[in-house]
Symmetry: C2
Subunit: 312 residues, 2 copies
Amino acid sequence: MSVLIVGSVALDTVETIKGKREETLGGSATFCSLAASSFTGVRLVGVVGSDFPERHVELYRRYKIDLEGLETAEGRTFRWAGKYADDFSTRETLNTELGVFERFDPKLPPNYRRTPFVLLGNIQPDLQARVLDQIEGKPFVVGDTMNLWIDLFPQKVVDLLPRLDVLTINDEEARQLSGKHNLSQAARWILDHGLGVLVIKRGEHGASAFSKDGRQFHLPAYCVDDVADPTGAGDTFAGALTGYMASRKATDFETFKKALVAGTLWASFLVEGFSTDGLLQLSHEDVLRRLAAFQEHTALPEMRLAMPNDTP
Amino acid sequence: MSVLIVGSVALDTVETIKGKREETLGGSATFCSLAASSFTGVRLVGVVGSDFPERHVELYRRYKIDLEGLETAEGRTFRWAGKYADDFSTRETLNTELGVFERFDPKLPPNYRRTPFVLLGNIQPDLQARVLDQIEGKPFVVGDTMNLWIDLFPQKVVDLLPRLDVLTINDEEARQLSGKHNLSQAARWILDHGLGVLVIKRGEHGASAFSKDGRQFHLPAYCVDDVADPTGAGDTFAGALTGYMASRKATDFETFKKALVAGTLWASFLVEGFSTDGLLQLSHEDVLRRLAAFQEHTALPEMRLAMPNDTP
C-alpha cells in the first residue's frame, strides 16, 4: 500500500567533524520518502523553488517516488545550514532561509486523497492538520514533530494528537510537551490526550513505544561505529517505520514492533553518510546483514530467576 | 558460589522531589551486597565507624551477608549528603565526611582470599588494586568506578583494566576514560587496554556490553513509573549482575547477558524507594512479575526484511 508523505524539501549545508557538504538534498519529506521507498510506493507532498536542481528530482524518480504532489513555486528552495559539535551532542543553526516554504500550503492531488498510510513529516502543525483535512477515508496516520513547534504552538500539537495513530518525538520533546520528566508519565499524559501510540526516540540509546491500551516496546539503537551526519535520522526512522507498515498492510502492535526495528536500522544507515548518502548506497545484503547483527546484539536470553536468598 | 564485595559503607542523607531521608544506610558496598545477596552468599569488605547503628549490621545479617571483612574503626562512619534536581537529571553533593573511610585499607580475612567472584565496588582504584593483591587463585572480577576517579587518577583506572573481567561505567565515563565520543569507539579503546567485557550503563536508557572478542549485547532499561531515589542504582546493577553469575557458577557471555537482565531489574526496584528500601521489600513474586513484563516489553519480534524497491 502507498504512503502519502508531507514535509519540507530543503537544500542543506552541513558541517560535522567528518567534513562539510554544501546545498545537499535534505528536508523532512526527503528523508521520510527515501526511507519509506525501500518498502512501498511513496506520494510526496511538498514545495520547491524554481532553483531546485533537476538531479534531485531525478533521484526521487529513481526511487519511484510519485511527485504529482511536489509543487514548484516561483522563488528559492528552503535552505538550512548547520554545524554539529565534534561530539555530535549539539548543533548550531547557521542559517535558515524559508524561501518558497514560507507560503507552503499543501494541496493534495485528487488521487492522493485515499492513500491508506499518511506520514506527516516534521512541519508546522497547522500544515499537518491541513493535509489531514483533505484526506478521505480512515488512513493510518503517523506524525512527527520537533521542539520548535512544541515551543511555538503547544496547543496545536496537542490538538493534533486525536487525529494521529502514532506520534514520534524524542525524549526531551516528550517531557516538553507533557510537562512530566518521567518518561512513563510523559507517555501517559500524551496518550491521554487522544493519541494511539507514542514513540519516544532516544537517539543513540534506542526508542520506546507506549500504546493507549498499555502495551510497551523498548528497543536499543543499532550501535554505529562512525557517525558522519545525523541530519534526518528522525525523519528516516519515521519514514522506514511507516513504509514498513504500509508494505505489510497491517497496523497491529506486533507489526508496529517490526516497523520500529526497520526504523532503527534505516536511521543507523542514514547517519553513516552525509545527507541522504547512507540510504542511497543501501543494498538488500547490507540490510540483511545489519538486521542479523541487530538481532544477535539484542536478543534477550531465555531465563528464569530463582532467588535462593528470598527476602527473609 | 560466593561473591567478595569491597566498597564504601555510608550513612546517606538524600533529598529528592519525593522527600528527604537522613542518615540512611548507603555506600557502594551496601547496595552491591544487598543486590548480590538475592542470588548468592556475600562476603563484605569495608569499614564503618564506632557510631555505625547496630540496626544496619542486623540488616546485613538478615540478608546472610558475611561481615568478617567489615572492620569497625574508631571514629565516625563515612557520611554523604546530596540533593537531586526535581527531574533527577542532576544532583548536588551537599556534604561529604569521609570519617574512618579516609584511612580505609582493605584487609581480606584469610578465608575470603579464594572467593571465586569478586566485585570491586566504586572506591578509589588503589584500594581496588589492593584487594586484588590479596586474592589467591583466578576469580572472576567485576569492577565499578566513577567520574571522580577517572578525573583524579585516569592512569590508575587504566592500569586496573587488565586485572578485570568486567568493568561497569556509564556512557559519560566511558567517553571521559577513552577520550572518544562514539560509544563503539570508546568501548574498543577501553577493551584494547586489557579489559574482558565493558558494560556501558545508559541510566534510564538501558545498558550495552562489548566484549574483547567483538560480541555485543544491548538492552533497554525497565521503564519505572515513579523514581524516588536513584542513589545506588549503579551499585545495585553491578551487585545483581555479579551475584547472578556467581549463582550460576558460570562466566560465559550467554550467562553474562542474563546477568545484565538481573542487574537491570534490580536497579529498577532500587530506584523506586529511598536508600535500600526498594530492595528490601522485594518478593520472589515481584521479581517474576517484573521479569515477565520486561521480557514482554523488549522481546524482538521475529522478522524478515524484503525490500520491494531495492536500490535502483
